[in-house]
Symmetry: C2
DNA sequence: ACCAATATGTAGCTCAAGCTACAATTGAAG
DNA sequence: CTTCAATTGTAGCTTGAGCTACATATTGGT
């Protein structure tokens, strides 16, 4: 095998991105993956507090479909990252930072869901896919999404 | 704290999904996250073989932005899952199963990218976000996406 | 034919996220 | 006020994905 530093051997058809560009993209995706779980928890905690008045570990675990120790471990990580607070046998609360993140995440989630629906994705499919997609939607894409929705609402109104 | 099995305490505003439904969705997202990496590797290997004639471990590592042992470990996982083959110091090849996955993944990737572009997302942003989003786009959503593209092409032609 | 650079492989670590099994605490109902 | 079911917490394991450091193999150039 060649020893040269990966010489792109071929002027090719649908050209690969440069190594650097591609590595940057994959890196972003990796970061998004690792924050996705924190975002899910924060969003869910906010939802639970808003709708039921409290966020309890078991409810979180059940809604995420994981065991309660898993939930507790991740909540510990939330505390480490200063996103949530919890004292033994009391409920879970969001810090200011956590609240701020929750607001951003929920707004993004709603927008992604609306776009999927506007594109004709069936409701249940859209709800499911949005759960995964949302974490990978950057500011730039969000912007385009809300523009698109604005337009498509105008069109519908006419 | 109550001992009752999470009684939804409140007839609420933008109602939470049921526990089961939500757990199902989060479960899907978790599965997607764990297969995302395999998909990335398979897609990249296919691209490398097509454009340079071979897929070498270092190139894969560099393009993913990870160390080469990480790449080698993951390639070992690909072998375990019967997606790729590799003999010591020879390049990496896809099995039939791997090729099939690569075809699906690349088609999905292209479609997601096109949709983002059609929605007005700037190219570089779209390329980056697609890398993360693609893994969470189900068949149903894909179908809607290709319908949408068909329509928007028709409109543009008029 | 050799040597040095590159590529590949191996060892051994960290961390996050999942799990099961068990212990401790709480609080509602009797 | 006791009891007991539910909740919460703890211990200890597995697996995947990342890393660094080191060892071995390959190969192009001299």
């Amino acid at each position: 095998m060649s020893r040269k530093a990966s010489p792109t051997r071929n002027p090719l058809l649908h050209a690969l991105p440069t190594e650097q560009a591609q590595a940057r993209r994959f890196g972003k995706a990796r970061t998004a993956r690792s924050t996705a779980i924190l975002e899910d928890y924060v969003e869910l905690i906010a939802d639970l507090i808003e709708s039921t008045g409290e966020a309890r570990a078991t409810d979180i675990a059940r809604r995420l479909g994981v065991s309660h120790p898993t939930a507790i471990n991740t909540i510990a990580r939330l505390k480490r990252e200063d996103l949530a607070t919890a004292r033994p046998y009391r409920g879970i609360f969001l810090t200011e930072k956590g609240e701020a993140l929750a607001r951003r995440v929920r707004a993004r989630h709603r927008l992604v869901l609306e776009v999927l629906l506007a594109l004709g994705v069936p409701r249940e499919t859209a709800e499911a896919d949005a759960e995964g997609i949302e974490h990978h939607v950057s500011e730039g894409t969000l912007k385009a999404f809300s523009e698109f929705l604005k337009e498509s609402r105008v069109k519908k109104a006419s």
